[in-house]
Amino acid sequence: MVSTTTKYCEIRFGECNKQLLEEVIFYGISLGADFVELFIENSDNSSVLAEEDFITSVSPSFGRGAGIRIFKDKRDGFVSTNDLSKHGLMRSVSQAIEMLDISQKNNTSNFNGLEKQKDYSKAKINWLKEVPSINEVSEKLLLSTKALKKDKKVIVRKGSYSRNWQEVIIASSDGTYATDIRLHQTVGLNIIANDAQYRSNGSRRFGSHGIPNEFRLWDHEKAANEVYESSMNMLYADYVQAGQMPVVLANKFGGVIFHEACGHLLETTQIERGTTPFKDKLNEKIAHESVTAIDEGISEGSFGSLSIDDEGMEPEKSILIKDGILKKFISDRAGELRTGHKRTGSGRRQNYSFAAASRMRNTYIAKGEYTKDELISSISDGLYCKSMGGGSVGATGQFNFAVEEGYLIKNGKLTKPLKGATLIGDAKEVMPKISMCGNDLELAPGFCGSVSGSVNVTVGQPHIKVDSITVGGR
């Protein structure tokens, strides 16, 4: 039964808000909504920047707000507000109802009240107290920039840390009532090396979810060495010669190729838009038989992991492609409603001001049987992409991404470093060309920007070989 009296007139974090939430949802249903969802957020973020041997920026930020989504048939209206009072939330519900032009009042039996609160935040209540202080962060960041100071060619040294703490309350008219706390920490190192007319960059980013102590354990010396070596290897590199060629993509962040080339096209938002070539390909072969690909939100500590998605559902492990056969799409509530693909616990959003959408979490190609050397030795002329930059996919499925650190493969051996390469292709054409997968699967954190804002993800793969791809260069 739905409660009729409300103890508090505004949302209180860390307390039970069941009565107030029920009242707001009941109000929406009574006005004619098929479905009402509330996503309420309290955030406490902090970032620190070290440049050379000084802390140059410390930026705390706080936010509170609610995203209210109303469904009617297959349409939805979304309103976001900073006003967390009962009046403010109800006003937002009214606004969403009006937007959807709902005039026929509903039978309120569509809503039977909220279930017992599922509190996923219990074990996480002290996370904010357990994360390193600004002082601790500053000291370690300065050690990391100092570790980058290896010779005079290094002209820029930067270390950055970001901590995002988010407390969420999710309630909807199907009875869902859940609370959770999320904690993401990332640390990045950047370097610019310069010698006469030569210049190179090096960067690495590390990240975790739900591990307050992670930054303290971060091996800054090892990270600094990696970044320094990468920039030095590339400092005098020649520009890559453009053309079609076989490539070997490194493990970890090399997985961005699958993320951009294929992962986005397996989100139900792309089916809704009609922008995926895989819409009608379920149980058909879309990739080489050596490819099995997974999207999941459950790997402990991984940057894209969640206890619940932003629609209150526990995430599942989704095998997207099994031995080259398309098995599943990544789906959220709207995706299920509009495309029929069952929710996978992938409804995600940057914050309360975005409606959730089907988004990737930890997405990777499963390991195969080959060693890295076997992949490289199978190529007579090609490119080894050791480190990847960002990328994107357009409305026609064409993707591109930058190679930060590349090497020429000649007669099955790695030879000179090459810079300026961009990999360009079309998922439908490239996926069948991933012919060999290595046995060294590793994951790397990243940020993915799309329809519901920027979300934390993990990309990953073992070393893989693509038989032929367009390499943009000079």
């Binding site: 410390v58 930026s59 706080f62 606004q95 600004i134 943009g472």
Partner: protein
């Protein structure tokens, strides 16, 4: 809460906390947007946002900052306290202060502030636009990326020294990106974006026509052979390049070592003498203009490149102090204040005798590549190295015929590009990010599928 109330609230809280020096920037907005899918409302969205960024200075004159959307008394007090804590880590090597121009008069453009049309009207307008665009050609099957929005917002800057300024305005945007499909061919997509102070200012018909023409024009495509080509950059494409490499004239980037310029670069010839570049945030045609920056400095027109020579850098208060000059109105508001251009205007200077004026994108009959739009800027530009490798939508002109290019990238170096401009056409065109004529570059590397 209005601008005066929030300033009073901050003043009171700062007094209680014994904080003597502070400033803040605030933004209050109401946004409405709609998307459609083949006649059906897809997502309707409204948001009310309020956000303030507070800076406080401690007794050592070090600055700390906090951003919050909680404007309750408790929220403001917490933000001031956190900013005080952050000030203990303030940068001792670069002292930030109030802008010396924060009380100077500002130049506010006379623009009618529009009233909201409301979601229902937005929806009807967009539905009609979508229907017309789909109906414009049988190959156009859907408009996967579309939206119509209207925003109403107020920006405020105030400080404990008595500076106070606010500005409110309205803005609307329409974007239509069509997807065309024909049997045995790859899908093609193109589109158009239009801005206005209100929806009634937007030329919806021209947005539909432009999106349709651009999409249909690319239906018949072929690949291009990899090589070096004479290239004509559309106004939009050239502005994209200049904005991507704006660190060349950004004082913040120079101090940070991420620019290709240095403190002594003023006066250097960095392009052919026929090129002038301005930053002109207050230009009459700039819908997105703001009369002051994050530090309260008035927006103004500034010459960046004059006859090929670097003439001015863009500054915040702290970078201007280091360069012994005045802020230019290009600052954000942050713990480390960012600097960015407002609205770039490109023109041909009067030292243009060396240009090959026969190169005109409408009449030239020789072989060249026309780059309509550059994509994936975030992935393909290495601003600190000066290099780029970018996918593009464009055309290959050869033997008097033009053909859409199937899939290609253009790669090069910004220094080479600016020094190898072979023509700057006479006619300047308005885009959403500035004004520019068509620009011709000699021998840029194009990678195609062949």
């Amino acid at each position: 809460m209005n601008a005066t109330e929030i300033t009073s609230k901050i003043t009171e809280a700062a007094n209680i906390l014994n904080i003597r020096k502070w400033d803040y920037g605030a933004s209050f907005s109401n946004d409405y947007s709609v998307q459609v899918d083949r006649g059906r409302a897809k997502q309707l969205k409204a948001s009310q946002k309020q956000i303030i960024t507070l800076r406080v200075w401690n007794k050592e004159n070090l600055v700390g900052i906090t951003t919050t959307s909680d404007l309750s008394e408790t929220g403001i007090k917490k933000a001031l306290e956190q900013a005080s804590v952050a000030s203990e880590f303030g940068n001792r090597n670069e002292i930030t202060d109030f802008s010396p121009l924060a009380k100077d008069p500002i130049n506010v453009k006379e623009v009618d502030k529009k009233n909201p049309l409301g979601i229902k009207k937005l929806l009807n307008i967009l539905r009609e636009a979508e229907s017309k665009l789909i109906g414009s050609h049988e190959a156009i099957k859907s408009i996967p990326y579309n939206g119509l929005s209207e925003s109403f917002y107020e920006r405020i800057y105030a400080n404990s020294d008595g500076a106070f300024r606010n500005h409110s305005k309205s803005q609307a945007a329409l974007y239509l990106y069509a997807r065309a499909e024909e049997k045995d061919k790859k899908p093609r997509s193109s589109g158009s974006v239009k801005l206005g102070y209100g929806v009634e200012d937007i030329d919806i018909e021209s947005c539909i026509k432009e999106a349709s023409n651009k999409t249909i024009a690319h239906l018949n495509y072929s690949s291009i052979t990899t090589g070096k080509y004479l290239v004509c950059l559309s106004p939009e494409a050239f502005l994209t390049i200049i904005n991507a490499f704006s660190s060349i004239f950004n004082a913040r980037s120079i101090i940070d070592g991420t620019s290709l310029s240095n403190k002594n670069s003023i006066g250097d010839l960095i392009s052919i003498p026929a090129l002038n570049i301005y930053d002109d945030g207050l230009n009459d045609k700039n819908i997105t203009s703001a009369p002051f920056d994050g530090e309260g400095t008035p927006t103004k027109k500034i010459s960046i490149i004059n006859k090929g020579k670097l003439e001015n850098f863009l500054h915040s208060e702290s970078t201007a102090k280091i360069f012994n000059t005045t802020p230019t109105g290009h600052a954000g508001l942050g713990s480390k204040v960012s600097v960015s251009p407002d609205w770039i205007v490109i023109e041909r200077s009067n030292e243009c005798s060396e240009l090959n004026k026969l190169l005109d994108h409408e009449n030239y009959e020789g072989e060249f590549v026309y780059i309509e739009e550059l994509n994936a800027i975030h992935a393909g530009v290495r601003a600190s190295q000066g290099s780029f490798s970018l996918p593009f939508d464009g055309w290959h002109y050869k033997d008097g015929e033009k053909c859409s290019i199937e899939s290609a990238t253009v790669a090069g170096d910004i220094k080479y590009l600016l020094k190898n401009i072979v023509n700057i056409e006479n006619k300047e065109e308005l885009t959403t990010s500035g004004i520019s004529p068509h620009i011709w570059i000699n021998k840029l590397s194009i990678t195609g599928d062949e």
